[in-house]
């Protein structure tokens, strides 16, 4: 596999890595959606139809206790801790997915 930009060593990601990363994030997002629908008993929506960019607080009506509940289940699933101070930043499933992916990759 070739580095994306020649041999000067600046870039640490490879094309394949970026593609894999996107796939992994998508998988995580799908799983988060399943957890959210299951734990919060969201109706009329499936993991496939749930918009990962919808604002969970403004548009879905999720509050801090709901986020804490989901964070606990995600902790079990991925062994990743979502810091309480980070909840306010995690307003969409995509942001949660990227947050977890970043922690997994760290």
């Amino acid at each position: 596999m070739e580095p994306e930009n020649g041999s000067d060593g600046i870039f640490v990601f490879f094309k394949g890595d970026i593609q894999n990363m996107a796939v992994e994030t998508d998988k995580i997002i799908l799983r988060i959606t399943e957890i959210m629908i299951n734990e919060l008993k969201l109706e009329d929506v499936t993991p496939e139809t749930f918009d990962p960019d919808i604002d969970l607080v403004d548009e879905v009506g999720i509050d801090s206790m709901d986020l804490a509940t989901v964070a606990l289940v995600l902790r079990d699933e991925y062994a990743v801790r979502i810091d309480e101070d980070d909840y306010p930043k995690l307003t969409t499933v995509r942001l949660i997915g990227e947050y977890i992916h970043k922690k997994l990759a760290a």
Binding site: V57, D63, V73, R75, D76, A79, V80
Partner: protein, 354 residues
Amino acid sequence: MDAKPTWKFSDLIADPDVEERWEKVRRYFFLRESTYDMTRHCNIRCNGCYFYEGEKQHARENANPEDWRRLMQAEKARGITFVVLAGAEPSLVPDLCRICYDEIPLGCIATNGLKRIPDDVGYRIHISVWGNDETSLNTRNAKNMLSRQLENYAGDPRAVFVYTFTRHNIDQAEAVVRKLADHNAKLTFNMFSAPVGYRGNLRHTPLSLADTQRTMIDLLENFPDTVLFSWYSAMAHTHEKGLHDLFGCSYPRRNNSTDVGLGRSFRQYRTDLTWDRAAACCVPDTDCADCRHYAAASAVVTARLFRHAVDPNTFRSWLDFVDTYLAVWVKGYVKGRNLCDETVCPPGAELTAN
């Protein structure tokens, strides 16, 4: 990757008693509160009363029923599901309380209990008790308070008596609880939390905090059908560190975030129906460093679910705390037996000499 916690959440709730309690309390996660000063008037004057501190006591009083109805409708529209009607004395404006109840039927009224609130206002009612009648006379300038409060509220399913421990009334609590038990009344505990600039003598000391914790637990064990409390409630309220230091207060006054939770939704309305984010908390003008108020703890400890889900006893303690808070604040919610009957330290803190 973070270190895996010792206990998985799924393991914590694998115990059937724990899972049942978790499912019971989580049904109330929809509660979103705000508080409202109903009138500038009160029929007594108490040493250390939060209402007559700061700016809010000078707000113009709006007693227009239609303005209140519009406010409640607007509150409901922005997602408020639970109202706390407090200062100065809501029983003096029963018609306004009724309007609030008509619009948002879950809530609680904080009252001194000297004037009965009509039965058709179906909120939980908290009746403040600050010691025996001699102490009440000294600190609240009212005679025979407990007898008068019981005349008004004994046998009333709305009523929960709230005994506020100061550093001078700890030894009076048992007689008060016994009298309430004789009348089949329910009681919970509060801690005197000094207003900003308070120079009176009710503020707690490390010694009085330790005495209070022992007394709370003794009464909890000796009067289980009367006292709505838990071991962890006792710990959280009497730790040498106040609630903000222990848990990080989530009310707007101490929380800049407006994205989610109390920082987003909570408001504290003054009698002119305005609110000020910089002053908004459940008991405004309390000295945050001394805040151990039961209303604050109800929200602040509950909000810290994640940090309590670390081991069985800590999580059971948190469940006991939330179960207690719901029984105290939500009419009709029945408290279960406590799941943890030992002293658990708040996560991240150390046990004090208590």
